[in-house]
């Protein structure tokens, strides 16, 4: 069975640009969450979606936005990129969003 898939695996962007990261959850999982992991730190919660509705938002600026599609896949968008946005972005899916999260391998974003 396919796990949580994220694309792209790596990308490099310039300051001020916009980026879209994609996540496909495990089949049957209706909840998707996004986390940012800066080098040397633990993951920080960005968003959670369940049944296409936002159920939680972390302490991130409005430059960060996300959505969940009818097939439960999700996109994370970041506008006006800053150097500090360089990080590993992790997507996690779960059946109901309560527990049992499975993480993808992440997208490594480098802002130059």
């Amino acid at each position: 069975d396919a796990g949580v898939t994220q694309s792209p695996t790596h990308l490099i962007k310039t300051r001020g640009q916009q980026v879209t990261l994609r996540c496909s959850p495990i089949s049957g999982h209706k909840s998707v969450s996004w986390y940012q992991q800066v080098l040397g730190q633990g993951p920080q919660f960005i968003f959670q979606y369940y049944e296409k509705e936002e159920r939680g938002r972390g302490n991130f600026p409005d430059r960060f936005s996300a959505r969940q599609f009818p097939n439960y896949s999700s996109e994370l968008n970041v506008n006006a990129l800053l150097l500090g946005d360089s990080a590993l972005y992790l997507c996690a899916s779960s059946p109901t969003g309560n527990y049992g999260y499975t993480f993808g391998s992440g997208t490594r974003l480098t802002v130059v």
Binding site: V4, F45, R55, G56, G97, Y101, T102
Partner: protein
């Protein structure tokens, strides 16, 4: 609000020796507790979890963790480590609120380095 403290940023240990990675949490509500492992350039893999019931939980590869409510701790232990256990270990908590809005709050991680 919840917080997780992993007191040790790095733990060096010789192969076949025992190890304990410490985790303390703070929360005003009941929580679920997790340990995740991260190998270099990879995502997070669930190692074990405490949801309810027995306070001692075990993984398939020999790790165990014990939930201690009075000390708000969830320390990870292994009686005999292997080189392949070298990785970053993250402790995490999630509150028990239902409705699909449970986020994970992570500690800063502990780098376990197993040496020959």
């Amino acid at each position: 609000a919840q917080s997780v403290t992993q007191l040790d940023s790095q733990v060096p240990v010789f192969e076949e020796a025992p190890v304990e990675l410490r985790c303390n949490y703070s929360s005003s509500v009941s929580v679920y507790l997790f340990w995740y492992v991260q190998y270099p350039n990879q995502g997070l893999q669930l190692l074990l979890k405490y949801l309810s019931g027995s306070t001692l939980v075990e993984s398939i590869n020999g790790f165990e963790a014990e939930f201690n409510k009075s000390q708000t701790s969830f320390h990870l232990r292994k009686p005999s480590v292997h080189i392949s256990d070298t990785a970053e270990y993250f402790c995490a908590v999630s509150d028990m609120v239902t409705g699909g809005g449970n986020k994970l709050t992570f500690g800063t991680g502990t780098q376990l380095k197993v040496e020959l």
